[in-house]
């Protein structure tokens, strides 16, 4: 039934286009939108990558990149060129196919997810009734793909990293979904449009349910694998975790995915808790949404620069003993105060 409700809007959409005889036009429109979104993502990832380097550098009393371009803005481009011009070395005992398709599938899924997120009421590929739920189903797949890629390389560090990835998945999906349920309780729907509409009617959900917001933000940090939850790429322990045996273009791809995922999570938090595209009218809706996503990402950067990494067992303990109960309390409180 769940699958039905996710698929049926797409199918009905598709059928209506088909009946009007312009399937090609529909496909072309979706493709054009996907390419446009890919450009938006790339620009965000690029700018975010530069801002992250600069902000962390300033926190550490350094200058960060300064030589390539104005204020080192083109540094990441130079790094990209360097990575692309290097050789990909595949270990002998690696599963070549899985190793190659892992990051590509990750990128495809991340991009697909961003296609499901409208930038404004007018700017969207398709309007799913269960939009948010669909996004969370796909988010749960990301650690699995990391598991596959890490497992495929045949490296023990990558293997440990892959296992950590799945352990993190099971302890953070649940609190996240419980908070999402509280959001749906308030807005009466999983549709992104109605979640944002409910916030402009009531208040930002970050204000309405601060506990839920805090739980969700922490769970999202874990989902993004940002410090203090970067156990998967723990450089001081696992060298580069699941990326240990990726080099050259694949490593560039992995970094790109990392930044896109930050964008994605920023968008999700902005939509669920920070009022989405609503904002003073001197700026258009999509700009507000992206600006809010960027603000969330900036907080993640500052946390990254200043904290040490958590230990695996503590991360699991935090997930099960703190986040899950708090998420449930948040759900109950939300029900008592706003529904009952």
């Amino acid at each position: 039934m769940l699958i039905d409700s996710i698929v049926s809007p797409i199918v009905s959409d598709w059928q209506s286009w088909l009946s009007s005889g312009s399937l090609l036009l529909y496909a072309a429109a979706i493709l054009a939108y996907a390419i446009a979104m890919l450009i938006v993502i790339s620009v965000f990832a690029y700018v975010f990558g530069w801002v992250e380097r600069k902000v962390i550098a300033r926190i550490q009393h350094r200058h960060g990149p300064t030589y390539v371009g104005k204020y080192g803005f083109l540094q990441n481009l130079a790094d990209l060129v360097k990575l692309l011009s290097k050789e990909q070395i595949t270990p002998e005992n690696a599963d070549r196919v899985l190793l190659a398709i892992g990051p590509i599938l990750l990128l495809a899924l991340t991009t697909f997810m961003i296609l499901l997120i409208p930038l404004s009421p007018a700017l969207q590929a398709t309007d799913l009734g269960l939009g948010m739920l669909a996004i969370f189903i796909i988010i749960a797949f990301l650690p699995l793909l990391v598991f596959v890629s890490g497992f495929a390389s045949g490296n023990k560090f990558a293997d440990i990293s892959a296992q950590r990835s799945v352990l993190m998945l099971i302890s953070y999906e649940l609190p996240m979904l419980v908070v999402l349920a509280a959001v749906a309780l308030l807005s009466g729907s999983y549709s992104i449009g109605s979640i944002i509409a409910a916030q402009s009617g009531l208040a930002w959900f970050a204000v309405v349910m601060p506990i839920g917001f805090a739980v969700f933000f922490v769970a999202m940090l874990a989902e993004m694998e940002r410090p203090p939850f970067d156990l998967r790429e723990a450089d001081s322990e696992l060298i580069a975790g699941w990326l240990t045996d990726y080099s050259a273009p694949y490593y560039a791809l992995a970094l790109f995915i990392d930044y896109t995922r930050v964008f994605l999570i920023g968008l999700v938090i902005a939509i669920l808790f920070l009022g989405g595209w609503s904002g003073p009218s001197f700026l258009p809706g999509p700009v507000w949404l992206i600006a809010k996503a960027f603000a969330v990402a900036l907080v993640a950067i500052v946390i990254r620069a200043t904290t040490v990494r958590m230990r695996l067992d503590r991360v699991l303990r935090l997930g099960w003993l703190w986040l899950l109960p708090l998420a449930l309390i948040n759900l109950i409180l939300t029900y008592i105060i706003f529904v009952a």
């Binding site: 962390i56 009393h61 023990k156 560090f157 001081s236 322990e237 620069a305 040490v308 990494r309």
Partner: protein, 363 residues
């Protein structure tokens, strides 16, 4: 089932070239086997082929985090062999330089520890900023920033510059505030505290049995500091008191070093204010061999990493044999005991808390 993973010799947090073969059961470390020797340069043998005062540069390269301390330990052994007393002012100058070096070394420790626990170089960079100020002071005093080669038999190579006392005192005032800032920044971070407290506990008995040295020993509650047990230079006059902690965990080892920095600040300030007049210069000639009075000497010094013992059999021209008891080497031996039954992530935190320098482990 035990999974064996090979960590190092090239790995982000092995402090140089340490190789660890780790037996893992899930996320729990079952056994750790350190393999050393990747940086072995045969320094102890090399010293036998050099005249006495040609060796300090080699000694400094043993511990590149605190070169001056090693330099001083070696020169102290030479002085003992020759039966030379260090001048009264020179003793103060050396003490000031050694304690400055200790501060620089502990700042490096702080940054490396946070890096090992997964921080992204922030404390490291901040620590290096302050370390840089210390190095600037040492540069004023010795003419070099990294490898000072500043000790001469009976004294040092150059007098302190006239404005040294002033700039050093102003640094100390600044730095005392900074220590407080480091402490409050790190100790108010719950993630940092939970990685430090109760991890890698070394009881006093175990510490004694393993013979660990320096802050690692004192963090387990054993009050043994060469500066207090067998005082040299002006440590006794300046009322040096050693720093100990009780718990013996990572946090205790970190805290001992933080408190030692405070003690160093106090010592330097007191030394600057009560420094006697006179000359601090040592003998300039390299050919000081023929006068060797004592055939066999052993000198103990409290380096930033712990007690270093220089055992020297002296010949007229050059050392017949030099043997170094190095604190990093001995503390590394405690790693397999400390890391057993700990989490994989804590293995690196423990390694960071031991403050190893592989160059002096391998010698």
């Amino acid at each position: 089932m035990i999974t064996r993973i090979n960590i190092g010799p090239v790995h982000p947090s092995t402090h140089g070239v340490l190789r660890l073969v780790v037996g893992l059961d899930g996320d729990t470390v079952k056994e750790v086997e350190p393999h050393i020797g990747f940086l072995h340069r045969g320094v102890e043998k090399l010293v036998e082929t050099r005249m006495y005062m040609q060796s300090p540069p080699y000694m400094e390269k043993l511990d590149y985090i605190a070169p001056l301390s090693y330099d001083e330990a070696y020169v102290a052994a030479v002085e003992a062999a020759l039966g030379v007393e260090v001048g009264e002012r020179a003793a103060y100058v050396r003490l000031i330089q050694l304690e400055l070096q200790r501060i620089a070394s502990h700042l490096f420790f702080l940054g490396a520890l946070c890096n090992d626990m997964g921080q992204m170089f922030t404390t490291f960079m901040w620590g290096f900023e302050d370390r840089d100020r210390v190095l600037a002071l040492l540069e004023e005093a010795t003419g070099q920033r990294m490898f000072y080669v500043n000790m001469r038999v009976g004294g040092v190579t150059m007098e302190l510059p006239p404005d040294f006392s002033e700039s050093c005192l102003s640094f100390l005032t600044y730095f005392e505030k900074r220590i407080g800032q480091y402490e409050s920044y790190l100790e108010k971070n719950p993630v940092f505290m939970e990685r430090m407290k109760g991890v890698g506990v070394l009881s006093a008995d175990e510490a004694r049995a393993l013979g660990v040295a320096g802050p690692v020993l004192r963090a387990s509650g054993i009050d043994y500091d060469v500066r207090a047990a067998r005082p040299y230079y002006a440590y006794k006059k300046l009322n040096f008191s050693s720093v100990t902690a009780l718990k013996g965990d990572n946090f205790a080892r970190y805290k001992v070093r933080m408190l030692e920095m405070r003690e160093s600040v106090r010592l330097i300030r007191a030394a600057l204010l009560s420094m006697p007049e006179g000359s601090a210069l040592g003998a300039t000639t390299k050919l000081i061999g023929p006068a060797a009075k004592n055939r066999t000497v052993s000198v103990s010094r409290e380096l930033p990493r712990g007690e270093c013992m220089m055992y020297m059999v002296a010949d007229p021209q050059r050392p017949y044999r030099l043997s170094i008891r190095d604190p990093s080497f001995i503390n590394l031996a405690a790693l397999p005991y400390l890391a057993r039954e700990q989490r994989l992530a804590d293995l690196f935190a423990i390694m960071g808390s031991l403050d190893l320098v592989m160059a002096c482990v391998d010698r």
